[in-house]
Symmetry: C2
Subunit: 114 residues, 2 copies
Amino acid sequence: MPDQAAGSGHRPAPVHTDPDDVSLLTALSALADPVRIQLVRELAGSDDWTRSCGSFDVPVGKAALSHHFAVLRGAGVVEQRDQGSKRVNRIRREEFDARFPGLLDLIIRADAPG
Amino acid sequence: MPDQAAGSGHRPAPVHTDPDDVSLLTALSALADPVRIQLVRELAGSDDWTRSCGSFDVPVGKAALSHHFAVLRGAGVVEQRDQGSKRVNRIRREEFDARFPGLLDLIIRADAPG
């Protein structure tokens, strides 16, 4: 039996892209956005699977936030899974670093995105 | 007397931004474009000031090309100067690397941008 709660059934499970299948252009485009930079930074400072989508301090509504997470999933930056009624996140640090060395470091350590 | 040819006078000299004044978001946005990735790659493989704007193998017209170079100048990636009727280029490798370590390396060594 899986030891992980199944999705709550009210939405499809998130679709992921392996970082190895992500083009440089897709990766750069995903990260060239102030909201997504903020999401990546907060996630990089949190333990895996401890952050639900609603826990981030970004000034966008729920639909826009879903879109931003979908872009990050599609670029191999973020992995998500449903736990009960929450969707929780982890940053794919090792896999993404292997594909684009240093790029996440730049995002995380650089100045504010403005 | 300056040992460099003055601009030909039919257009203003290019305006540059120092990489130290460039935000991460501006840098990523400038590089998240297939035409600009191609320009950066070709320029990185050429000696400084040997490439005129018209010498790049990119599928865009003159006005679009001017825009792309303006974006790269504004992100501190490229320096330009007018030599007679030509505008020639160099990549600001050292200065940009100091500001965003590893980012140009990713652009230059990664797979095709598609």
